[in-house]
Symmetry: C2
Amino acid sequence: MSANRDELSPLALLRRSAQAYPDRVAVRDGDRTLSFAALAERAWRLGNALRQLGVGPEERVAMLSLNRAELLEAHFGVPAGRAALCAINTRLAPPEVRFIVGHCGAQVLLLDPELEAAAGQALELPGLRVVRLGHEYEALLESAATTPPDWPDSEDRPISVDYTSGTTGTPKGVVYTHRGAYLGAFAGLVETHLGPEGTYLWTLPMFHCNGWCFSWGVAGVGATSVVLRRPEPAAVWRELRAGATHLCAAPTVLITLFAHADAAPLDHIVTCVVGGAPPSPTLIERGEALGIRLTHLYGLTETYGPASVAAWPPEWDALPAEERAVRRARQGVPTVLGGEIDVWDAEGAPVPRDGSTMGEVVVRGNTVMAGYLDDAEATSEAFRGGWFHSGDAAVVHPDGRIELRDRFKDVIVSGGENISTIEVEQALARHPAVLDCAVVGVPHDHWGERPKAFVELRPGAEATAEELTAFCREQLAGFKCPDSVEYVSLPRTATGKVQKFVLREREWAGRERRVN
Amino acid sequence: MSANRDELSPLALLRRSAQAYPDRVAVRDGDRTLSFAALAERAWRLGNALRQLGVGPEERVAMLSLNRAELLEAHFGVPAGRAALCAINTRLAPPEVRFIVGHCGAQVLLLDPELEAAAGQALELPGLRVVRLGHEYEALLESAATTPPDWPDSEDRPISVDYTSGTTGTPKGVVYTHRGAYLGAFAGLVETHLGPEGTYLWTLPMFHCNGWCFSWGVAGVGATSVVLRRPEPAAVWRELRAGATHLCAAPTVLITLFAHADAAPLDHIVTCVVGGAPPSPTLIERGEALGIRLTHLYGLTETYGPASVAAWPPEWDALPAEERAVRRARQGVPTVLGGEIDVWDAEGAPVPRDGSTMGEVVVRGNTVMAGYLDDAEATSEAFRGGWFHSGDAAVVHPDGRIELRDRFKDVIVSGGENISTIEVEQALARHPAVLDCAVVGVPHDHWGERPKAFVELRPGAEATAEELTAFCREQLAGFKCPDSVEYVSLPRTATGKVQKFVLREREWAGRERRVN
């Protein structure tokens, strides 16, 4: 510890809010509220409890929970115990949850009792200590001291591990550091002007890139978090009318929200960060009419959530509504705390700024992941040339702003969730009737994109679409399973490789972009 | 350069604004405007020009300039040339300027022709290259390339050296780093919600702690800087009416501003950061009535300007105006990007949180200086115990907030009781006839010391000594009230601070000690 150096850490944010706003409501979760003083006390207790349980430095603590006060406090409490939080996607199927808990090596799983079924297979992992939210969890906190945490000895220590659907079929653990999380939190705060007079509504699951780093940032500026288990439109409208000022959501959530019977213009401006997929100009216009101003951020799990923002010169407010919506739908420029973003051709050279030549989006800076957990090969592949390769295809406009057009990697983005087509193909291929298959994303009005399976059956074998889909559901989260199955003879290259792009082109014919 | 690490530097802020807001007005300086693209181009030219002149890494470049577009661009251009900017207080006398230019070892002085006289003696320094703003400076920029800068190889490299006004002894050069300046810039942005739709009015001299880091921050979020050479009240009111949204000022400036003939309520809320001395509750109340909301930050040159903020839970808006003003006048808690702040007794132990025991304000964190230039002894003295010692006396309230009570030397000990001169000054300042005042301890045969008030009345106003003392007695314990009142024009430093020590010296002339 020295007079002029603090390791950057989100822990500083809660420590400070507990001092500046001890009596303010930090979290409202149903009928329950926690002040900032209480939130800090509980977080420090959690940290001390984990150390008592034998969790060591940099070890992972897994958590499977819907949005709850406890998940927010774990964002501070787990790192307070020097460990890294692995918040698991609550929509995953039991085998997937088991894979992640096993892969991250967690000895402790904090479990929301509502998700007992999804956790099922993970509970069998040898040596895993399961602590259920409720009496068990409260007893654990009670047993521990309220002593504030020791400071991390380096800001480059891991603070969380977020699993992403990779292109390889198995999820990869994306490692965030204290430094990156701290800077990522401020990126969200500066872009949205969130302050202590703000009320942040938790529609975005906190397991998604740690709530795009808002899990740390909202508490950090003394704003109140209102926690919703699920983004049910009636509840969201109720909270917006009650005064919520900020939220984050994928376009899918907003489509439902804006189309709901309760939708009506608000009497205050709500700032909504939209990400996970490009919002349509229609969605942006509709938001404006309701008093919900959309700030469009683009990013990936590997970039702590937001990497770029459709930064908005106020002069653009004078443009016609349609033109405004077009500009807001672009992915734009790096966030104010981000680093650099560019679009490269296959040789690693920047594409011309002509608004038409496509290349791969590459990113570098302090809010790029430390790497993939225990996967040096995938990390160095992703970081080739000193930049992180997103797998997303984009153009650069003459003003330097990027716009997403397609995806190089075999990933489908559906309702803000990533789906690895390879993972779905592997699940289908396990069926005895399937000879080979290919899964591609097809455009969908509500979800953006949905997976469609193209299947070649073994000679003489039979399997209905319903049968194959049900077979998938046993292995994968429901949202990953194909909506439709088509039986075909798969198009192949001369060397026998399946040409998925041929299938995609057919499904997306007549559209300007290959992402939706 | 790696995919996931950028050395933190304000250079990133201008680079990004030039990309996100190329055509926006970055600076308006009289009839002249510069877009962000132009500002960046000129800054990079300056950096390259300085390297051509032979300025080496970490060398200082001195600049003596009123607030001008060129001073703002030097905040980026000098570090772009790998050097550190030494922006000199323009109110200093020629021998003081010469001392600073010589002490910082600058080989280049960028000189505002309006300040030729103040620079006089410095110009005689051997080997000093003087570049005058105007034709000479423009020719220098023209001669250089627009290539963007190499990135600093470490975020801990110096970016600027700011000399403290030095009430005693010789000025000391306070060294800021790229990392500290970057984080300090965001502290100002987050506390004030400044964004690209904001217009920042430069009443605060940019040489003051680099404009409390706003020199970097305003440009960093794409807000427009409106530059005023001097904070003349008529010009300030004109720009506020024209739409300026943010400014920073010392209480002295605001006292004059609020008392000016043009003062009248604004049609929009202006956010004003007030610092440099504690604002009186009266001043804060007047600001509210005019639509100017004061955010009170406390700090020193050694803390990049702001170290603490009177953080404001929105619930406090419901308090009576007087209570609001009392709370806003406290120095509060660390800024959201600051580190820790405490008040220690002489043995280095925190004082009780009782709102009455005084101690010395100590600070630590990323926005504490690297040290004093070429003065290891003063640095280690200031950093004893691992915290920076401010020399300011304060109490800690039960809620953990600090409140400045005095410089140690200005505490009056009377009959065994401590009297904060600031407390007495605030009481006097509430009187409608009082424009400004200073209270110092004077020796007294019976009580040891007694407070004496030096008062400047508002033009045309009248108040007798008896009247003012009686007014104080309504608010304060009898022993705290001044025994005598003298009507004067208050002596001030070059930076506008009241020189209480001049008043004290006069009162204590001929005595060996300054306590009695």
